[in-house]
């Protein structure tokens, strides 16, 4: 199919889809409507019954925890797929077919290095805070995990590839990734054994606004934070490896 024909077919499809979308949008309730039946019940359950200040965390890790478990395993599977694909590219080096050396990068400013070393502690602490307070204020395992995963790469910005390779034990992070995913399921099964339903919230609920409230939300936040941070670190590590190790000219393909 030529490009012109493909574009014409797409144009027809886009016009029809656009018309359908506009018709669908006119059928939606008014923007800013106050009719949210599920939302009102979710907020009531979160605040009054489950003692969770952050209603979104309550929906994610308490009321609809099974959906979060499914999403977490999508993440886990995507990470495994990425690692398998990049390992195939790595296999050449390990079997001695190709030799590599580290890419020569220009020396950065020392002020950049000092700034990143100073910010490393602050960023890690912020990430841990976001994970730990997910049930109280905006945040949680997913957001805090991303902050933690990117915090360690400040070392790459300041010190180069050698610095981050030295300070980041990759096998440990792969283990943490699996621990986070598996821990979620174990906690769910424990809830099933004690409470009768998978991922039932059987831990003590505490009082609204306390650091130790909302039962299992805190624990699940920590496990998800561990998994997301490890996933980000492991993926970025393998891509950095592909980028930073250049083939020595003249070795076999």
């Amino acid at each position: 199919m030529s490009r012109r024909l493909r574009l014409a077919v797409f144009g027809l499809g886009a016009v029809l889809t656009g018309a359908l979308l506009v018709i669908a949008f006119t059928g939606l309730p008014e923007f800013g409507t106050s009719h949210h039946p599920y939302g009102d019940r979710a907020v009531h359950t979160a605040v009054d019954e489950q003692k969770t200040s952050n209603a979104v965390s309550s929906v994610n890790f308490d009321q609809r925890a099974i959906d979060t478990m499914g999403e977490e395993f999508i993440l886990f599977t995507a990470v495994i797929g990425t690692l398998v694909l990049l390992r195939e590219l790595r296999r050449e080096v390990e079997e001695g077919e190709v030799e590599t050396e580290l890419r020569r990068s220009p020396r950065g400013l020392s002020s950049t290095a000092y700034l990143t070393y100073a910010m490393l502690g602050v960023t890690t602490l912020t990430g841990l805070y976001v994970v730990a307070h997910g049930h109280l204020s905006p945040g949680g395992g997913f957001q805090g995990g991303v902050v933690l995963g990117t915090a360690i790469h400040l070392l790459y910005v300041g010190g180069g590839y050698r610095a981050i390779r030295k300070a980041r034990p990759l096998h440990l992070y792969e283990i943490f990734d699996a621990l986070g995913a598996g821990g979620f399921v174990v906690l769910g099964l424990a809830g099933a054994i004690v409470g009768g339903d998978l991922l039932a919230n059987v831990l003590p609920l505490g009082a609204l606004g306390d650091i130790l409230s909302a039962g299992q939300v805190e624990l699940l936040n920590a496990l998800v934070g561990l998994e997301v941070a490890s996933a980000v670190i492991v993926i970025l590590a393998r891509f950095l490896e592909q980028y930073a190790e250049v083939r020595i000219q003249g070795t076999a393909r």
């Binding site: 574009l7 979308l21 952050n54 209603a55 990425t82 949680g140």
Partner: protein
């Protein structure tokens, strides 16, 4: 005026699909997919919005009119998970380049054994 948000979301979806159709580089294709995904977040959060409502977090306020937390929970996990799926696609693009020497989708048509 109330349709502005939804129409912008529809525009993002269609322009993302256009980008995928005319793309000459697998990386460009993958990023246009990210644009399509953003349109779904806009639609979901637009449905959940309540006029005069605040964020559904009660750490320093007492229960008042808040927006719908359920759609926010949906979007929040999806944003993070889609990033890893995009990384998977980019690893596929890298592998395709290694096998066939090109990242042009038009030249990667035949499934060679």
């Amino acid at each position: 005026m109330r349709m502005l948000l939804f129409c912008c979301a529809g525009w993002l979806l269609l322009i993302g699909c256009y980008g995928i159709v005319v793309s000459r580089n697998l990386i460009h294709t993958v990023i246009c997919l990210v644009v399509c995904q953003s349109s779904t977040y806009l639609i979901l959060l637009g449905i959940g919005y309540r006029s005069g409502g605040t964020a559904p977090v009660f750490s320093d306020t007492s229960p008042s009119t808040v927006v719908d937390p359920v759609v926010q929970a949906l979007c929040l996990t999806d944003v993070v998970v889609s990033a890893t799926v995009i990384a998977l696609f980019l690893a596929l693009a890298l592998q395709a380049h290694k096998q066939h020497g090109t990242v042009d989708p038009d030249e990667l048509t035949s499934l060679r054994g």
